[in-house]
Assembly symmetry: C2
Homo-oligomer: 382 residues x 2
């Protein structure tokens, strides 16, 4: 049905009408007082979301631009870094570091498994000469629906004393707590089309005092993504280059909505949706792809034991719900339910109902009709 | 008056309601067939606008991101390049090249004067060993309202035979002809909030076959702005990273409007507005900042002989028109009338009328009331 498709993918996520309307205004001058006032307000809102007093800078670009900014602003050619890699976005960190000539050591876990904090601890403790300059990882691994234990890993980095913690929080920020100051996260990268509930086009980087010290030493070449000028401009509520003005309008409005809901309520909602999606899938007799106990609050990856792409097409065509497919070698094997951002209980319940209907139609489900929805509803009301 | 301010700055430029409405849709999945169809259409439209069969790639970022992409995708550390510099954006090219360790030779002209093509010819002809790898310049120098003779300079580069031509066409594309193939322009960078008539957030890079050959040799580090993956994705009407989906909606709609108007009509409109703005200012007895005969079709810079910022504030507060101020050392000395993109005859006439009124109120005008508007109207009807 035209214009009825609902997004339940990990980005772009659904956007509130209020936000779309704010975005649809005529643009204003990016050097005007009115725009500077908007930048001042969003900067305060962003610090609230990041639970930090660090700088949080806004880049016009995708989440990858923010990840790259984190690397090239804090590291130098040949620096030794430790990367966590348990999915496509962990791989991206490794590729990014290699593109800039860093000496990358990788701690891997199989796709669907979480990174093991004790593996980080062992390498960091063995580094008595303090040669590791950064520990780099993905908090919520979007490709597999796994949340990594960032708090524990960041604790080991703090104990090391020398390395910085650089984290991709693209699908965790706004879905679960990311207390930047409490956990000592030096660089946190995120993107607008996720928990922020606005369309793609803006990305965000928080930088700690230690990250700025490293910026002063960094010799990697940069210009558009050099955060130095962003910091200087931010001090007068401005940007070094013309920003996506209309996405700023959207951002301010979305963050107002998030502040009205409150951080704890937002995190509880995402946790409830994860519980409902997981309970629904288990009741249908299909397997979760992520290991027990480490499912992301933003996305539930499912291994249905049938052609996942055929199921996804059926859910799209018959129920007007867009689920995400598997990436790389998981294409056709898994599908992913996005429950990130502007998602309500009804959305999760209908997604489970649609998947249930599609599994029944495909002759896959091992249980009776209604079991998935019943389990999801119980989880929502728990 | 609230919400009545009209933008007559060189970006963001005014956006048609049709485009704002297209942009205000709910986002769709960036890997969906519907989005790929949109990418296919906009790619064809972009080639039409660039008058080229070269690749034209879309980056989520500002015009500076596109400029940087041009540099880092075609050059290598230590490469010798020749930069034209006659304003703030010429300076930006120089800074960008230096940030990447290129050996920059500069051909300068005073702010307000055009670059001298024969100066390029002399340096290029003297380079018998063909060590110059690129000639880099700004077509329309936004800071001074000067258009450089790109056709002549590009001709000298072609005669050299080895160097590439890299051009910032941020405020010329969509305002005057930029026949990429006919002039042999290897890299052309532009930005969405200009002639494209959409809000900021997208930028564009066209790459010739010779530019792609250079890409294969380039050793400058890059990731988000590496155009290789963009080219690969573009072949299947996709993007390597999540693009600003809603700005794509705006882009497609704006380019449809431009195609309906036609390139020749668009260029004639901008030339007419330049003539009207120039005639109006001259009739008011104030000086144009750009040298005679080289005013940009996108922007008219004016040296009013009084406090330009006070005049700009008066025009803003009393007439609800936002003019641009001077940049760097020109702040307070000049103001700039943007007539780029979605600008009609009425807009130019009212801008001249407002400036006339403000000059009279400030006691600056040397001529009788009505002279500016009369001259502008004559030019519009010539």
């Amino acid at each position: 049905m035209k214009d009825k498709l609902t997004l339940m993918i990990p980005g772009p996520t659904p956007v509130p009408e209020t936000v779309l309307r704010a975005m649809g205004r005529h643009p204003i001058g990016h050097r005007s007082g009115a725009f500077q006032a908007s930048v001042a307000r969003t900067t305060a809102q962003l610090k609230w979301l990041h639970q930090t007093s660090n700088d949080v800078l806004v880049i016009t670009g995708s989440g990858t631009a923010a990840m790259e900014a984190g690397i090239i602003n804090t590291l130098s050619r040949g620096d030794r870094v430790l990367c966590g890699d348990n999915g496509k976005f962990g791989e991206r960190w490794v590729n990014l570091c290699q593109a800039y000539g860093l000496a990358v050591e990788t701690i891997k876990a199989a796709w669907g498994q979480p990174l093991d904090p004790s593996a980080f601890q062992a390498v960091l403790e063995a580094d008595t000469e303090k040669r590791i300059r950064a520990v780099i990882l993905t908090h919520s691994e979007t490709s597999t629906g796994v949340i990594n234990d960032l708090e524990a890993i960041a604790g080991h980095v703090r104990a090391h004393g020398r390395a910085l913690t650089l984290v991709d929080c693209v699908t965790s920020l706004g879905a679960t707590t990311v207390p930047v100051d409490a956990w000592g996260l030096d660089v946190v990268a995120s993107g607008s089309q996720k928990g922020y509930m606005i369309p793609p086009g803006l990305s965000f980087v928080s930088m700690s005092a230690r990250a700025w010290e490293a910026h002063g030493r960094s010799d990697l070449p940069k210009f558009y993504l050099d955060l130095g000028p962003y910091r200087k401009s931010a001090a007068r509520n401005s940007n070094p280059f013309t920003p996506a003005v209309n996405l700023y309008f959207a951002l301010e409005t979305a963050l107002e909505m998030m502040q009205a809901e409150g951080l704890e309520a937002i995190f509880a909602r995402h946790a409830r949706h994860r519980a409902a999606a997981q309970a629904g899938m288990k009741a249908l007799g299909v397997n979760l792809f992520s290991a027990e106990g480490c499912g992301s609050p933003a996305i539930t990856a499912v291994d249905p034991g049938c052609d996942a792409e055929a199921l996804r097409q059926l859910v799209k065509n018959k129920y007007d719900i867009l689920l995400a497919g598997g990436q790389d070698h998981l294409k056709g094997r898994i599908f992913r339910i996005g429950h990130l951002g502007f998602v309500c209980d009804r959305d999760v319940l209908t997604a489970v109902a649609a998947i249930e209907g599609a599994l029944l139609e495909m002759g896959v489900a091992c249980v009776e009709a209604g079991a998935g929805v019943a389990a999801a509803a119980r989880a929502l009301n728990a």
